[in-house]
Symmetry: C2
Subunit: 194 residues, 2 copies
DNA sequence: TAAATAATGAACACTTTGTTCAGTAACTTA
DNA sequence: TAAGTTACTGAACAAAGTGTTCATTATTTA
């Protein structure tokens, strides 16, 4: 009845667990596949039947995190052709909730050196979210620059939030408010001065 | 008369050249020391008498780039104990000039995947520049969040600028203006609304 | 020219990689 | 429950990279 063999799920889980632990302990670059299969306690050939390389594993991990966080947004995109300001605010809050939920899983990684790879993935997803919004970039400011500002600054905001105990101190709504005030302020000032 | 042996300078130059080329071609993670010594055409033991690891080499490269760009700022810091708005604007412009000058050397790297390592270094340096400015973070916004906004957004602005042919299309002054309008606008809006 | 310093290159044990394959265990379905 | 399929095991493999050592050669400086 179940679509996937229990054995596969078990190995994949073991690999992910080992990988995330190792990411925290020594950082992505110094992790070897040897480390992973030792920690996950699986055969060498088993690893290679699931993943091609260490990078492949990382990509799959990123997908499972971010595709989840962005899933409801993609659904919305198909029904509406323009996303209003309130919608966007809700979407961003939604993303932060997802990140917080997976925080136990990702504890410390986002902010660590390994975080760069996550950030790259994160930003690529965010670019789709903010690009729909691009039309309103102020005169005199290149459009791609404006998009990059939204994307980078939201990603960095999330990273800032995930570091230390900030995730416990500030709610997703608060964080979006921080972010949003910077955005709104910038837009206002720019449309004034150009 | 010269302080450093010509042979040393020659090897270091060859290593840096090879390294930068390889950074462009295959990206930092997949570069091996073997690649470097093959490309630089030096003996294995020679490499290890200059650098400890691949990472060490990267750090030395970063230092040579950014310490140069930030050098004149550090001098200023010792003479003034508070840096005015105009000073800061000048400093940022100065940094961009330096980055542009080393662009032939760094063509394509800063903005590429390998750029993450540079960005980390860059941001650490920038944090010192913007932290002096932290006092004026608006009420309701955490101070470290405000600093992070300046730091990240200037670093990402520089990265954006260094990508493609933008460095030829926009002058350092223009880019600082882009950046500055975003900053100024945000500050204005925030002090209004809190 | 002599002494000091740097680069060479070959050898070293060691780790990691990615692949193969026969054998074993766990699941599925008829 | 028996038969067939699918997944994991574990050992072995060549290939490539790492970091170190050392006697030899080349270059520089005084």
């Amino acid at each position: 009845m179940p679509g996937v063999d229990r054995r596969q799920t078990k190995t994949r889980k073991a690999v992910f667990k080992a990988f995330v632990e190792l990411l925290e302990e020594k950082g992505y670059p110094s992790i070897t596949i040897q480390d992973i299969i030792d920690r996950a306690d699986i055969g060498r050939s088993t690893f290679y039947s699931h993943f091609e390389t260490k990078e492949d594993l990382l990509n799959v991990l990123c997908e499972s995190i971010f595709d989840h966080a962005f899933s409801s947004i993609q659904q919305k995109e198909s029904t509406h052709d323009f996303t209003g300001r309130e919608d966007l605010e809700g979407e961003l809050t939604h993303i932060l909730y997802h990140l917080r939920d997976s925080k136990g899983y990702l504890k410390g990684i986002f902010a660590s050196e390994s975080g760069d790879v996550f950030m790259r993935y994160f930003k690529n997803n965010l670019r789709d979210v903010f690009e729909k919004d691009a039309g309103l970039s102020p005169k005199g400011i290149p459009e791609d620059y404006a998009v990059e500002h939204s994307v980078c600054w939201f990603a960095e905001t999330a990273r800032w939030w995930m570091d230390g105990d900030r995730v416990e101190r500030y709610s997703p709504e608060e964080v979006v408010k921080f972010f949003w005030h910077y955005m709104r302020g910038a837009e206002r000032a720019l449309s004034d001065s150009f």
